[in-house]
């Protein structure tokens, strides 16, 4: 593409998202927008989600030394924070934050990729094309959530001593050295469900497919679904919590718990968190 072509047809090539009407149940290839709602009040910080992710997505175990070098590959991690006002003891417990790719609508990682290896799918996922990735790591540098993980090593040759490779999920690629990777909302499960639904001339039903973390979560703290469908649980929760996918700053009541993390950076994340509650009288 020549620069002249680009400048002359700027409005055509410029892809501003999100915009209202981008997703529409009645428009082909726009019927899905996968989203999450995560209740921090019932998340116990147990790490069942992270282990489920290792099992589902062929995440390599990197070992102590590489973990220390920041080369751990956990697509979902539990962050633990202590209260800033803590005097002697954390009397209101700890704060746990499950953090995974937020599948931003205006993803900061996408615009900086020199080869277009990370881009948006029709169903609102921030995808990573392993074949196209050249390992510049610009995306990781630009991600405000720090949820992109780079294969510094050739893990297929070291991380799964035999017969551990027998456990690998055949639906998910095993990534090699020099590739960036991240949470996909278990796109292999989504694609299978979408394909099954298509052969039956219908849309994916609410609850028909969930990512591995959602399926495992012992307290059911995570809700997942198609937010385009107003009857899906996740859409109802977002609406009830007064979080609008298309707004960068929410105007909501004080009593309502929904929020998106680092929203003021305007990445328009697809994950809504619900505030942790503490009984201040206790």
């Amino acid at each position: 593409m020549s620069i002249t072509n680009l400048l002359n047809n700027w409005s055509f090539y410029r892809n501003k998202r999100p915009y209202r009407g981008q997703y529409d149940l009645n428009k082909e290839y726009s019927e899905y927008k996968w989203a999450m709602a995560l209740d921090l009040d019932i998340c116990t910080g147990c790490n069942a989600c992270t282990t489920a992710c290792y099992a589902e997505n062929n995440l390599p175990v990197v070992g102590k030394k590489r973990f220390h070098h920041g080369q751990v590959m956990h697509w979902i991690r539990i962050e633990r924070y202590w209260d800033e006002k803590m005097v002697d003891f954390p009397e209101q417990g700890a704060s746990f934050l499950p953090m995974m790719c937020q599948q931003c609508e205006a993803a900061p990682c996408e615009t900086v990729c020199p080869v277009g290896a990370t881009s948006h799918t029709n169903d609102g996922l921030n995808s990573q094309n392993y074949h196209r990735c050249i390992g510049s790591r610009y995306c990781s540098a630009n991600c405000p959530y720090k949820v992109r993980y780079f294969n510094f090593w050739n893990y297929p040759s070291t991380a799964w001593p035999a017969p551990l490779p027998d456990q690998l999920n055949p639906d998910v690629t095993v990534r090699t050295k020099g590739i960036m990777e991240k949470c996909t909302f278990c796109v292999q499960r989504l694609n299978e469900a979408k394909s099954r639904a298509r052969t039956e001339y219908r849309l994916v039903r609410d609850g028909e497919v969930v990512p591995a973390c959602v399926q495992a979560c012992p307290t059911s703290a995570i809700t997942f679904g198609n937010i385009v469908d107003p009857n899906s649980k996740v859409a109802k929760m977002w609406k009830n919590q007064q979080v609008d996918l298309y707004k960068d700053l929410q105007e909501k009541d004080n009593t309502v718990r929904g929020y998106r993390i680092l929203e003021d950076l305007r990445p328009f994340p697809s994950v809504m968190y619900m505030e942790r509650i503490r009984d201040t009288e206790a």
Binding site: I42, A55, A94, A159, Q167, P218
Partner: protein
């Protein structure tokens, strides 16, 4: 092949396949006999295997004793992932990380794949024929092994394998079944038995408006963590319940509390009596306990309680007022309150609050009673280890079998278990990996993992009715030279009672017959075959058994807690809290990469052991994160690096259990230290159980230090960013939420 001068037909003859009536297609796709061109798939799938499609089979997770119903995702004959089984009332379709790791046990690179026999000082591989012949020679009918000179140690056990173990011991006239769990619930059981008349009452967290937990980590390591997590989620929905946690070191449950209170280990009972004293001042409650108990409790005024427990005096009244305001409530005790010389008394004092508040019958009632006592669970205890150790030390035992336990690793070093075990002439271990105990044995037999094996399980905590969770193989056995524990047991029973068991060639047929015989209990009307297949496909047998009746009796004697427990020992000034990590438990799962790399929820440390010390204490001793400390008790010293942790009492230090393996596998060996080794011989006086939290230690800083590898960043707060936002409970309107 033409180059070497032989044609394809000759080649097949060499391989012993010549003249085969099967179409063995090569590159040319020609029929061997006629030479016709054939179109054949490269891989002929077996029954039920559709390439590219996953099939889910129901089974039971045996990673801990909760017996969650699970589903194994199977593709092309391999099990790939574990999910919860929605038909199980215990798991409710959910699963924890420990359960996920069952596939890493299955495909563990360090699994034992063939029988081993001790030759000299090492283990050498032998054939099964040789192994079974040795078993027959050493413990068979002609061996003279009988009665008191034989012992069978297992872990916690239930189901039909337990029946076979029992019957085998019966055939030997031996009563020595030692069910040993290093982290057993026995002390809590004894207190419950005293108060409620049952080992374990049923706890209704979802019905409670307030949970006051004295050290019970029910979300992480309790009786049934996945079930309790679901109950906890209901408890946190509108109207949101409040959780108060009182313990010396913050557990995962404590991290989720609305109010977390640090207490000196062992003084939990005093605190409970102090709260009881405040409650009894309300006229409503005065007649709930006998006058004797009321007067006994009355000496615990807030100031006295504060002096003993190290908790601020106003918190005693505060907890009492919370209990007064929020009904119904539930008060529970856990490991850190029970693991003391007066552990039963502590737990009884804690349960007294339920009695005063009238919670018994509301949030605490009886579990359903299993109609089949023979397969009922045996939770395991420390006293069995002690009994076996004494018998071995006295030279009584001529042969021992060990299955489902690793006592050489978990027995405290003061017991001298390893030396006593060596005195036994013939020792057999049934294992998945050659662990520390197996290294000491004369015969080590590789058994199938839980995902390759048939079986039946009953958990000792049953949320609804009685659930018998069924195990079925999720795949063929990975190694030809591993055998089913059930099959081995059946062979052993047949050594002496061949006639009684002749109808069953293997454990599968035995289990099938046994399960079909249960049919009347579940009012199933279809045929036996259908019942068996329905049972396997749903993974659970649900029996609507009547609830056990529970009482609530409190003896004054049980509540007379030792006067002053906070004795300062100048030589060993710190309390040792050996903490149970929810994915490691007693250490049997340490050889899973996923679990080693799963950060500890509170410290976020991976692949290591550490000692938690309060930042104030650390500052007074000049200790920084990563400094190696020498933690010494009367029975040993551990060198372990420091982690500054605010969720611990300043007079206590805590080391997690489960690491410090010498022989379990590549992911566990040489990682961290084993705090079991330095525990003191302090025993609970009613039950004889080891008082896990009764050890005192000294802390000495060394000049060494090393970076602590953890997921946490350089700061542990949110630095003013709105990452996790906290809303006060009185502002939130949960009832309006979806």
């Amino acid at each position: 092949m033409s180059e070497s001068g032989i044609n394809r037909r000759d080649f097949l003859k060499v391989l012993g396949l010549g003249g085969s009536s099967l179409a063995l297609t090569g590159c040319g796709n020609t029929d061997i006999r006629s030479g016709d061109e054939l179109i054949m798939p490269n891989v002929s799938p077996e029954d039920f295997v559709v390439p590219g499609l996953s099939v889910f089979y129901a089974s039971t997770c045996t990673q801990c004793g909760s017996a969650c119903g699970v589903m194994g995702r199977v593709r092309e004959g391999r099990v790939l992932k574990m999910e919860g089984n929605p038909q199980s009332k215990i798991s409710g379709g959910k699963i924890c990380g420990l359960g996920q790791a069952a596939v890493q046990v299955q495909y563990n690179p360090d699994r034992l794949t063939q029988p081993m026999m001790k030759v000299g000082n090492g283990l050498q591989p032998v054939s099964w024929d040789k192994a079974m012949a040795t078993l027959n020679e050493k413990v068979g009918p002609k061996s003279g092994i009988k009665g008191e000179n034989f012992a069978f140690m297992t872990g916690a056990m239930s189901g039909h394998l337990k029946v076979l173990v029992q019957n085998y011991l019966d055939s030997l006239d031996s009563k020595n079944h030692f069910a040993y769990e290093a982290l057993s619930p026995s002390i809590g059981f004894a207190a419950n038995k005293q108060v409620y008349g049952v080992d374990m009452p049923r706890l209704h967290f979802d019905k409670a408006k307030l949970i006051v937990s004295f050290g019970s980590d029910f979300l992480g390591t309790g009786a049934s963590p996945v079930h309790f997590a679901a109950e906890y989620a209901k408890f946190r929905k509108a109207p949101r319940g409040t959780l108060v946690q009182i313990e010396p070191k913050m557990t995962m449950t404590g991290a989720n509390a609305d109010r977390w209170i640090a207490i000196i280990p062992g003084t939990e009972g005093i605190f409970a009596l102090g709260v009881a004293n405040q409650l009894l001042k309300h006229s409503e409650f005065t007649n709930t306990v006998p006058a004797g108990i009321a007067s006994l409790v009355s000496k615990y005024d807030p100031e006295t309680v504060s002096q003993i427990t190290g908790v601020r005096p106003e918190l005693v009244g505060h907890v009492a007022s919370l209990l007064w305001e929020k009904t119904p409530s539930i008060v529970i005790s856990g490991a850190s309150a029970e693991g003391h010389a007066h552990g039963v008394q502590n737990a009884v004092a804690i349960q007294l609050l339920n009695k005063i508040l009238g919670n018994v019958g509301k949030t605490i009632d009886g579990q359903a009673k299993s109609p089949f006592p023979q397969i009922a669970p045996e939770a395991g205890s420390f006293s069995s280890l002690k009994a076996m150790n004494d018998a071995m030390g006295g030279g009584k035992l001529q042969a021992v079998f060990i299955h489902g336990a690793n006592p050489v690793f978990t027995a405290p070093s003061f017991m001298g278990f390893r030396d006593n075990l060596r005195k036994v002439p013939f020792k057999v271990a049934f294992v998945n990996a050659a662990d520390e105990t197996a290294q000491e044995c004369d015969l080590v037999l590789p058994i199938l993992t839980a995902v390759e094996e048939f079986g039946s399980n009953i958990a000792w905590y049953q949320p609804e009715g009685v659930e018998i969770t069924m195990q079925q193989p999720l795949m063929n056995k990975l190694y030809p030279d591993t055998r089913s524990m059930g099959d081995i047991m059946l062979d052993l029973v047949k050594q002496r009672r061949a006639d009684e068991y002749k109808n069953w060639p293997d454990f599968f047929s035995y289990l099938k017959a046994a399960v079909i015989n249960m049919k009347p209990a579940v009012k199933y009307t279809d045929t036996d075959e259908h019942f068996w297949y329905d049972t396997l496909s749903s993974g659970v047998i649900h029996i609507d058994a009547p609830q056990e009746q529970i009482g609530d009796s409190f003896a004054e004697a049980a509540l007379s807690l030792p006067e002053v427990q906070n004795v300062q020992d100048p030589k060993f000034p710190f309390y040792l809290v050996p903490s149970e990590r929810h994915y490691f438990r007693d250490g049997r799962h340490a050889n899973c990469g996923w679990l080693q790399e799963s950060p500890d929820p509170l410290t976020t440390i991976v692949w290591d052991s550490w000692v938690e010390i309060h930042p104030k204490t650390a500052a007074s001793m000049g200790i920084k994160e990563g400094d190696y400390l020498e933690i010494a008790s009367q029975n040993g010293t551990l060198k372990v690096k420091a982690y500054l942790f605010p969720g611990i009492h300043p007079d206590a230090v805590s080391i997690p259990l489960g690491q410090g393996h010498e022989s379990l596998g590549r992911f566990a060996n040489g990682v961290g230290v084993n705090p079991f080794t330095i525990l003191n011989p302090v025993f609970e006086k009613d039950t004889g159980e080891l008082a896990m939290f009764g050890t005192r230690v000294s802390v000495k800083k060394t000049s060494d230090s090393e970076i602590v590898v953890k997921d946490e960043g350089p700061v542990s707060t949110q630095m003013g960013r709105k990452l996790v936002v906290t809303l006060p409970a009185d502002v939130a309107q949960l009832s309006k939420e979806i």
